[in-house]
C-alpha cells in the first residue's frame, strides 16, 4: 500500500512485469518501473525514488469489519475476476528462483512477518508464533510486540514504549476479542493497541509497519536481516 504522490505530482500505476517473483508496476506519467514490495523505482526516469508507504493491515475481513463497520469494500469487476482462495497454496509450490544460501535458517517458502526499524530488519517466522498471541522483542533498541488476534491469523506489530515506560504485554487467555495485559500496571490493551482498561486506559501504543512475506523474498530485499528465534529450553547437560 503506497501513496501515489511523489514530488508534488500524482502517479497512476499499472502492472508491467515481474522481477524475481515479485511484480513490477509502471507509472503512466513517466514510464518508470517500480518494485511492488519495496516501493522503489528500479528503472526509468524516477529510478532511485521511493514511494511513501501507507500504514495498512492484513487481517481477516471479520476483524476488519468489527473495527471499521463503515469500511467500504473493493467490489468485483464486470468479469467477476478473482483468484481462488487456495491460489497461495499453488503459488507456494512454485520453484523459488532466487539463490538459496547454505546458511539459510528457514525454508524459502516459510511465511514471515518482516519488520524494519532504523537499519535493523528482522523476520518473525509464522512458525515461531505458533499458538502464542504475543511475542515480545527488541529491535533497533525499540521494544516491540507482535500481536495475534483471536481469529488466529491477523497480526500487528506495536512499539511497547509508552510515555518513556516499556509495557510488557501478555495474552489474556481465552479473551474474545483478544486482550493483552500489561504486567506492571494490569492495564488491558485491545488489538488496535488501545488501552481499554486499567491505569493506562485511553493511551495507545504506536503501530510499527510490517509486511507478511515469503522468507526468500524478505531475505532477497533485506540482505542483513536477522531471524527471531523463540526462547527454548536447552537439553539439560
Amino acid at each position: 500500500m503506497w501513496s501515489r504522490g511523489i514530488d508534488g505530482r500524482t502517479l497512476q500505476f499499472r502492472l508491467i512485469g515481474i522481477n524475481n517473483q515479485n511484480f513490477l508496476m509502471e507509472d503512466l506519467e513517466t514510464g518508470s518501473w517500480w518494485q511492488q514490495t519495496s516501493g522503489e523505482a528500479i528503472s526509468g526516469p524516477l529510478k532511485g525514488h521511493r514511494l511513501t508507504q501507507v500504514l495498512h493491515d492484513e487481517v481477516t475481513f471479520g476483524l476488519w469489519q468489527r473495527e471499521h463497520p463503515d469500511s467500504r469494500v473493493l467490489g468485483l469487476d464486470a468479469r467477476q475476476s478473482r483468484i481462488d482462495s487456495d491460489w497461495e497454496v499453488g503459488t507456494a509450490k512454485a520453484p523459488v528462483v532466487t539463490p538459496v544460501r547454505a546458511d539459510d535458517l528457514l525454508d524459502p517458502r516459510a511465511l514471515v512477518v518482516g519488520v524494519v526499524i532504523g537499519n535493523e530488519a528482522r523476520a518473525y517466522p509464522h512458525d515461531a508464533l505458533g499458538d502464542v498471541r504475543v511475542i515480545l522483542d527488541e529491535l533497533g533498541s525499540t521494544p516491540i510486540a507482535v500481536l495475534r488476534a483471536d481469529d488466529g491469523h491477523s497480526l500487528r506489530v506495536f512499539s511497547r514504549s509508552l510515555d518513556g515506560q516499556t509495557v510488557n504485554l501478555l495474552e489474556r487467555v481465552g479473551a474474545t476479542p483478544a486482550r493483552y495485559l500489561d504486567g506492571a500496571t494490569g492495564s488491558e490493551f485491545d488489538f488496535t493497541g488501545l488501552a481499554v482498561a486499567g491505569p493506562l486506559a485511553g493511551q495507545r501504543l504506536t503501530r510499527v509497519p510490517h509486511v507478511s512475506d515469503y522468507w526468500f523474498d524478505w531475505r532477497h530485499s533485506h540482505e542483513a536481516t536477522t531471524v527471531y528465534r523463540p526462547w527454548q529450553p536447552t537439553s539439560g547437560r
Partner: protein
C-alpha cells in the same frame, strides 16, 4: 540488388521480433531476474512502439519493391512454357513476403499491448461496496485494510490478488493498493 533487399527485409523482421521477444523472455514469471535484465527490458519496451513502427514501414516498402509480377511475353507459346516454370517460385516469393510483413506488423501490434494485463486484467474504475453489501466475502478471508480515521477501505485478497494493484484514494490521498 534484389538479393540485398531480401536480406535487409529478413534482418528487419528478425530485429523487430527479437526486440519484443527479448523482454518477454527476460521477465518470465518463474525465472530469476538480474537488475541488468530489468534495465534491458525497460529500455527495449520503451523504444518498442517506435522501433517496430519503423520496421513495419521499412518492411512494407521492401515487400512492395520485391513483389514479383508475372513476366510479359511476346508469344502465347512462350508464355505457357514460362508460366509453368515461374508460377511456383512466384507464389513462394509472395508467400514469404506476406509472412515477413505480417510478422513485423505483429510486433508493432504487440509493442502496443501489455501482455501482463492480458493475464491479469486491470480494474481502473475500481468499484467499492458500502458496508453490508459485501455479503459474499467470508469473515475468515484475509483483506488488506487501510483507514485514516474517517474513511476505511478493505481489499479482499482474492480480488486484489487477481488485479495485483488498484489505484484509488483514501479520503483525499491518492493511494495504490498492491498485493
Amino acid at each position: 540488388m534484389r538479393a540485398r533487399a531480401w536480406t535487409l527485409l529478413a534482418v528487419v523482421a528478425a530485429v523487430a521480433v527479437a526486440w519484443i521477444a527479448v523482454p518477454v523472455w527476460l521477465l518470465q514469471p518463474f525465472a530469476p531476474q538480474s537488475q541488468a535484465a530489468v534495465e534491458w527490458s525497460w529500455q527495449l519496451r520503451r523504444l518498442a512502439p517506435a522501433v517496430t513502427a519503423v520496421a513495419a514501414l521499412i518492411s512494407l516498402a521492401l515487400a512492395a519493391r520485391l513483389w514479383p509480377r508475372p513476366a510479359m511475353h511476346s508469344t502465347p507459346t512462350a508464355m505457357t512454357a514460362s508460366r509453368r516454370a515461374t508460377v511456383v517460385p512466384l507464389m513462394v516469393a509472395r508467400g514469404a513476403l506476406v509472412f515477413l510483413v505480417a510478422a513485423v506488423a505483429g510486433t508493432a501490434w504487440f509493442a502496443r499491448q501489455n501482455h501482463f494485463e492480458w493475464m491479469f486484467r486491470p480494474f481502473p474504475d475500481a468499484r467499492f461496496l458500502v458496508a453490508g453489501e459485501a455479503t459474499d466475502v467470508p469473515a475468515a478471508e484475509p483483506v488488506i485494510g487501510v483507514a485514516d480515521g474517517t474513511a476505511a477501505l478493505a481489499f479482499p485478497i482474492t480480488r486484489l490478488g487477481y488485479h495485483h494493484l488498484v489505484n484509488t484514494t483514501l479520503g483525499d490521498v491518492p493511494i495504490v493498493a498492491t498485493y
